[in-house]
Structures are given as structure tokens and as C-alpha cells.
Symmetry: C2
Subunit: 527 residues, 2 copies
């Protein structure tokens, strides 16, 4: 079922000579399939047919795109257990997680289908003419969103379904009317090929133009670099490391025609525990933090890598309880040997910094690629001095920062880079006296959480998954939720345009029944 | 009334030694006032107090910001004739234009005041909790827009009011809750200082924090470069040339923390005349084009620099009529000797390209700084071969491109860089047979116009002033209309946040009466 070839549109092509295999970290062996990296010419062909597809796909109706997205979801389900098995073999993740993530992916596809079928997302805005206005007549102007063009999606390592081939970036881009070229993640090229086959089948069943979707194999950076530099590519979606995301951002910004890159990158997701919470609920929050830090071997963008409190006996007590809880956890297999190795190296590097002390380090791990969890602690003063301590360690690791007082806590928050999330654990009665802490945290993050854990990103309209740099490359957008579609569209005005030649969304009769802003009033009425 | 100093917040400061004067192009002499360029330390002070102001200004209520904006408008009016006089002395533009542009500026300020006073622009989105959801409970998540931080605004040369100190960029940024630092345009530093005095007075009257607005003088690029590189600056608005805008974009993208730049840059605004229009309305469109090309000495972003048609006797006839009409126009004073000089140089450079023929060139001009209008023509074939012909000539100049056939017309449109506008002049009966022309044009522009001229940018919600690169640096935004505020804000989520600690926009009771998306339904109801 896995051919190892590239989908250039609906064609399976593998003319290159650079091959690679994926790896099963649980068994610590290579998987059987061999993948052929896309060649320069194959990449060019993919962008050329995507560009051609755009000319018609950008005009697909909401209903047509919704059918396409729903059919992708169905075709993914049709792949059944086989797909889940390949997912597990390429990620080391358990089947329950595979199933859950598939459900989320299906949910995302259907949510965007609902969005574009309903249609009001195009933000139709109409200002009708006032021919007798003085001193000058007012012309008729009507605006709606239209797609940018071909979007390149870089699949993530840690979500082989939900942030990869048919994940949120692809679903939102296709929903907007943009063709998509996926550069599949080299760690799960087989999963990607299977999901790609579902997308291609759905495209054919629903009469989408050839080239609306391609899936390219790659083992290094060359394929991605060529894609981002291709003049026919108009936007990029990325989920991964700061180094990777920044490199793509720089490439895109340096093009003769710069293009937008939405890169969702690293984050250490600070969790602040306020004094009363430490006093009254140390045990509860220690259990919650231990669970969140080790969840999925800590391989989540929203993993809490930093726990902040004001130094006193209660914080000491919390540390001890967290140590206790975290050592109860069983280690979990990481996604790959290289991710595991990076985890160990980065963990050791941070642990050996000046003033860092170990709170708890799991040491009974004897399985290859399994992550040994660790908690360290450092003073606020040391943390402020040493920005190495501000870096993400991707894995089940967290650092407790013991601040002298509230002022130092605020200073630590202000010194942090941008984050996806920030969390306050506290009693409702005390939070008002920590306004400055909440404000400082709010200025650094995309989502702020009260008495909960940052892991677990609900897919809903109110979710923001993004944040100030470097958690994302543009904090004005989100990667999760229906507003993720806004990354791939631009507003477009028609002036004095004949009614019957306008897109239906802007016609007087409002044939699609959209909610529109007409002469500054939001309405579903016709004109 | 004009001191020549910088407004660092409310303080008039001029510690530097680099001075310059503005120029009266009508009289061809320097104006009397001497301006002192902001020093490195003054710039640092401006960004520091702006950052400090942001901490409180970001929380200003819609009512408070609306009062601030409306008071700015009032204070500008209070400056009365004196302001109009300085505007005219620094731009060479006539008083009627000054008055009209002031009206537009006041209108923009009041439109943003209305927007933020009503408040629904924050896109409040609420997904309430479902505690008993399986397999996992759903948490409460609420999202709204919040401001990015300090915005630096680069005033334009050609709109000393509407796209400068208190223009659309400043009005939209202040409305969003972002402090603004204006780098005033060196050609109208006096106008800028006077308008800045109105903003400062309004800030004081309405109790805005010190540092919410600054106005810096500059004669070269140094002030702007330092501002864009300052870590406390979080976004940039720019209106001007492609070279200037791109340089700022590159600087911002190259920062350790990249920041968004919305640069509205050059455009040649292609106008396509279809065959039946040429046959039936040559005279009408010749008069309209002559007026639009020469309006304000052609110094508009939407000036039609390119007129495209299919070669035949009707196009020849139209060319002759346009020649006739354009030579009837009186030359108009340009904004400055340097702009006039660039116009002459660029006009000559384009006119001397291979295959370019003169259709009409005004030659009775004897006033310094007055622009002599010119129309040239070239074949589609030559145009496709030579990208020098695709460049903007800022001034009353236009080029008629004679295409062999429809296919060549489409090829020419596809070869163009991104544009603010594109225009179709045609009979309603023929436009359907030119679908491919309309499609090609639509893919290159931000606004498409039927049977009208691109000059005259209506300020209304449905307007898009922006477009594919290089007409703007990010086609996903507009510089004109209420949606211009979206450039300066980011979505922000509160998860499980106590109701009484939420911003009013997100509280259950909906105390502001906003239109909100609650559990996927748009409503003004409380929860």
C-alpha cells in the first residue's frame, strides 16, 4: 500500500535517486518501506500544476469545497487500521493516541467544511452607491476574501495526523481555495503517503482540478528550500522548531516577492503558581504538572517547561511533591532516536548551567528512545542572568524558577520570549493582587489559562494557537480553529461591478444567504 | 507656532545638531522654519515612553479611545487656516485639496472612533465549557483581539494629512490601543509638527498616558532605521516607494524578533479598455483617463500608469483623443523639486526604451517643479520583453500598451507585478467574453473597477487599499477602511478564566452589548 513515491498531483512519481526509510522507535529498527525524495523537476512540476489548479480551484463554491473536505475525512477513515498501524510504526506513539489524533483531524476537516459551506467566513462587505452625494458621488464597493494561491505545508514531527498531511494547515488552506503542496515529515513519510492517497482519491471523486494537492518526500532541507523559493508558491505553513521555522521565514522574506509564512515554533509555556495555591493545593497541582510535563513524552508544543513561584516553604513543599509524582510516571518512547538524543543533550546542557539543581531525575530507564523525565530548579536571579535557561527542551523536562518576590517574578515573565501559552494556578481570591503578574504574562503569550494545564489544545473558534515571536512567526494569526483560514486569504474589492458578474457572495440578492456587512449593518438581507 | 523640535511624548525636544528646512515648490524657495532631526537618545526615549504607555493604553476602553480620536479631530480643526497654509507651503498643493484632505483625515479619525466605541471589532468569540463531554471535558475558551504594541508610522510624501501624522495608519493604530511614533515626512515636517501638537493636546485633554504619541523629525534614513530596529517597536506602517518600503520590510524581517510591516508601495494601476468600449465611448474614456492621469500632477498611488487595449483602428482613435485631451490640461506643481526631477528622469528613461513612441507630450511648461504630462505607447510584445516598462513613473504619465490579441493582453496582465487596482472599461455586453482578462487582472490587484477611474479611494468598510506585492508588503491587509485596524492586533484566548476578571468584551453579561460569536452563533445576547 505504501509505494515510497511522491504524489505530484494524482501521479505517483519517483524519478530521483535519494532514498530514505522511516524508523520504528519502539522496536528500534527501520521500517520496511523505502521513500524516494522529490527531485528538482518533480518539485517544479508540483508547483506548476498547483498554480494551474488555482485558476479554477479559487472559484470552487463553498459547497464544492465542503464536499471535497468531507470526502477527504471519509477516505482517511476508509484507510482504517492499516493507517493507524503505520502511524504507530513511524512515531512510536500508542494506538489510542493515533485514534484520538485521527478523530481530531477528521473533526478539523469537517469544521472547515461546515465553515465554507455556510460561507459567511468570506466577510462580505458592501457599501452601496450614493450617486447624489456632495461634493462627489459615492461609488458602489463590495469586498470579500479570496485565496492567495499555492500554500506549502511542512508537516510536524509530533502530530503525524493533526498538524501534518491533512492537518489544520492543509484543511484551512484547501477550505480557502488554495492548492496545497505538503512536504511530508521524513519521520512519517509512510503515514503521509497514505493520508495523501486519501486526499487524492477525494479530489478525484469530487472533481477537483489536477494539482490541487501534492505530497513530496524529503529527508533533508533541499525540497523545502526549493518549495519556499518557488515564485509560484504564495504562502507557507510550518509546525516545528524555531531554527527550522526561522530559516523558512528568512527564505520567504528574502524572495523578490516576499510571501507570508505562518510558522508555529517553540514555546516553554510558563506556569505561575501563586502563593495561596501553593499553600492550599500543592498536591493537586503537583499531580497535574507531573501529568502535563510527561504527557506524550513531553512532545507537545504546549508542554509546560517552566514553573514559576515565589520562594518559600510552600514552594519547597510543592517541589518535593512534584518530584514524588514525576518519578511515579513510566517513561514513554519518543518519536525518533534523534529527538531522543536531542532531548538528552539539551536536558543535560540546561541541568549543568550555573545554579541549576536537580529536583527529580528518573534513572531506571533502560529502553532505547524512551525519555527519562527530569525536573530542575533555579533561582529567579540566575534565570534572569542566563538566557540559555529560557530555551525549550523538547521532552518531559521542566524547570522550577524560584523568585525572590513578586517584582522578580514579573521581571522573569518580562524577560521571556513569546509563548504559545501562559498559565496561572491560583485561588480566585488572590489573583486580583497579582494583576501585574497576569499583565506581564498576557503580553508574552497567545493563550492564558487559569487553573488548568496548557497541554490539550481544544479545536474551537475561540482557540488561539500562536503567539508572540518565536512561538509563532506572526502573532496576528492562529494555527488552530476556524480562524486559521485567515492566514491564506486576502481582501478584494469590486468597484461599480455589474451585479450579475459579481461572485454570489456579493450579489444584491444574497443567493447564498450569508451574513454580510451592508452599509455598516450586519445582515442576511438582500439589497 | 512651528518650533522645529521633536515631540517626544508631550515634550518638545531638539538636542541634535542635524537641521533641515522644508521647501515651497510653488515659490521654489525654502520655507522659513528650521527642523532638528531626532537624535539616537531622543529616539530611544520615544520608544521607551511609548512602551511604558502601552502597558496602560492597551487597556483603555473603547469609549476612552473614541474620545481621544474625536478630540484629535477637533484639535486639528482648531488649528484652522494656519494649518492649511503650512500644508500648502510644504506641498505646493492647492488649498481646496488641503481642505478636502483634512476632511478625509477627520472622517477617518471619527470612523475609527465609532468603530471602537461600538466595540464589536474585537471579534469576541466564546466557547463555553461542556464539563460532561466524553472522552474529555471541554473547557471554557474566550478570544478577542488585543493590540501588538508600539507602532511606527512613516508619513507619505503625497498625502500630508490623510496618510501621514494623523492619517489612517495612526488613527487605526491608536484605535487598536497601540501607541504611535510618527517619523514625519521631511517634505512636510511643519505640517506634521502642527498635527502632532493637536494629537498631544488631545492626549492631554483625554488623560491618555505620556508617550502614547511622539513625532520625530528626520531628513535622511537614520531615524527610520533606528526606529524599525528598536526591540520595543512591534509593528510598522509605511506609505511610499517600493525601495523605501522594501528596505524597511527587510530590516524588520531581519530583526531577532521579526515584526509586521504594512508597506503600501508603488502601483501602475492597469486600465484595460475592451473593444466595444473603444468603439462606442472612445471620447468619454479619453476624457476620463486624461483627468485621472493628470489629477494632482499624477501623484496618487492609484494613478493609471498603464492603459491596455487590443490593437486596431479604434485603439488608434482613442490614443489620438487621449493625446488631444491630455494636452488641454494645465501642468500642476509637484510636491518637491526632487519628486519633479525623478519624474522627468523616469519619464525620459521609459520613453527612450526600445519600441516606445510618444503619443502626446506637453511642451509649453516653463514653471519650475511643474510636471509636463506625457502619454507614450508600446506594443504588447515589447512590453513583455522589457520589464523596465513595468515600473512606476510617479507623475502625470501613462503608457498605452497595444496588444495583438486577447491572448497577448492576458499575457501582459499575468506578467505584471502586484497592483493596488485594476480597471476594466467595457460595455456590459462584452465583458463576459473577456472572463480570462478579468480573471488575470483579479489575480494581480487588490481592487477591481468597472467603468470608472482608479483614482479616488473611497474611505468605507468595503474598500481594499493594498494588494499583491509590491503594491503592498502583505496583501492580507488594507490601509484604508475600518479593517485597517487588523494590521495592529492579535487574537488572544482566555481559558477557564474567572468571569469577573475577564475583559468586559468577554464577560457572560455582555455589558458592552457587543455582537459576539457564542458557541458558533453570532449574537448580542448575554450568556
Amino acid at each position: 500500500m505504501i509505494t515510497g513515491k511522491n504524489y505530484i498531483g494524482s501521479q505517483l512519481i519517483a524519478g530521483g535517486d535519494k532514498v530514505f526509510k522511516t524508523f520504528n522507535p519502539q522496536l528500534n529498527i527501520h521500517n520496511p518501506w523505502q521513500f524516494t525524495e522529490a527531485t528538482t523537476d518533480e518539485i517544479k512540476l508540483a508547483t506548476a500544476i498547483a498554480h494551474h489548479a488555482f485558476l479554477s480551484f479559487q472559484k470552487a463554491t463553498g459547497k464544492e469545497k465542503a464536499l471535497f473536505l468531507r470526502t477527504i475525512a471519509e477516505e482517511i477513515m476508509t484507510l482504517g487500521e492499516d493507517l493507524l498501524d503505520v502511524y504507530c510504526q513511524e512515531s512510536g506513539l500508542p494506538k489510542g493516541r493515533a485514534e484520538g489524533e485521527r478523530g481530531r483531524t477528521i473533526g478539523q476537516l469537517n469544521a472547515f467544511a461546515d465553515l465554507v459551506e455556510e460561507g459567511s467566513w468570506v466577510e462580505a462587505t458592501i457599501d452601496t452607491a450614493i450617486p447624489d452625494r456632495k461634493p462627489l458621488p459615492k461609488v458602489d464597493i463590495r469586498k470579500m476574501m479570496r485565496p492567495l494561491g499555492t500554500v506549502v505545508v511542512f508537516g510536524s514531527s509530533n502530530f503525524p495526523f493533526a498538524y501534518s498531511t491533512a492537518g489544520g494547515d492543509t484543511a484551512s488552506a484547501l477550505a480557502s481555495g488554495c492548492p496545497v503542496i505538503v512536504k511530508s515529515h521524513p519521520m512519517h513519510a509512510g503515514t503521509s503517503e497514505m493520508v495523501a492517497s486519501a486526499i487524492i482519491k477525494a479530489a478525484q471523486k469530487t472533481n477537483m482540478p489536477e494539482g490541487v494537492f501534492s505530497n513530496l518526500n524529503s529527508s533533508g532541507i533541499e525540497v523545502g528550500v526549493q518549495l519556499v523559493k518557488d515564485p509560484l508558491v504564495k504562502a507557507v505553513g510550518f509546525t516545528g522548531s524555531i531554527n527550522g521555522g526561522r530559516a523558512l521565514y528568512d527564505l520567504a522574506a528574502g524572495r523578490p516577492e516576499p510571501i507570508p509564512v505562518f510558522a508555529e515554533m517553540g514555546s516553554i509555556n510558563p506556569v505561575v503558581i501563586l502563593p495561596d495555591a501553593l499553600k492550599q493545593n500543592a498536591q493537586k497541582w503537583a499531580i497535574a504538572c507531573a501529568g502535563s510535563v510527561t504527557l506524550g513524552a513531553g512532545q507537545f508544543c504546549t508542554n509546560p517547561g517552566l514553573i514559576l513561584g515565589i520562594k518559600n516553604d510552600d514552594l519547597e513543599n510543592f517541589s518535593n511533591q512534584l518530584a514524588n509524582e514525576i518519578l511515579k510516571m513510566d517513561p514513554i518512547c519518543m518519536l525518533s532516536p534523534s529527538i531522543h538524543k536531542n532531548y538528552e543533550v539539551n536536558k543535560d546542557s540546561l541541568s549543568s548551567q550555573q545554579g541549576v539543581q536537580v529536583v527529580a531525575a528518573y534513572d531506571k530507564n533502560d529502553k532505547p528512545n524512551y525519555a527519562a523525565q527530569k525536573i530542575v530548579t533555579v533561582s529567579g536571579k540566575e534565570f534572569l542572568k542566563n538566557t540559555v535557561l529560557h530555551k525549550e527542551v523538547f521532552g518531559p523536562f521542566s524547570m522550577i524558577v524560584q523568585c525572590e518576590n513578586k517584582a522578580e517574578l514579573v521581571a522573569v515573565l518580562n524577560a521571556l520570549e513569546g509563548q504559545l501559552t501562559g498559565t496561572i494556578l491560583g485561588e480566585e481570591t488572590e489573583i486580583k493582587t497579582f494583576n501585574d503578574v497576569v499583565d506581564a504574562l498576557g503580553n508574552r503569550v497567545g493563550r492564558i489559562i487559569f487553573n488548568g494545564m496548557p497541554t490539550g489544545v481544544e479545536v474551537c473558534p475561540a482557540m488561539v494557537h500562536g503567539g508572540p515571536y518565536p512561538s509563532s512567526s506572526d502573532s496576528r494569526f492562529t494555527a488552530v480553529g476556524i480562524d486559521a483560514i485567515k492566514r491564506w486569504v486576502r481582501p478584494f474589492s469590486y468597484q461599480n461591478w455589474p451585479n450579475d458578474l459579481l461572485p454570489e457572495a456579493l450579489q444584491n440578492e444574497n443567493p447564498l444567504g450569508l451574513s454580510r456587512l451592508v452599509n455598516n449593518i450586519q445582515t442576511t438581507d438582500s439589497i
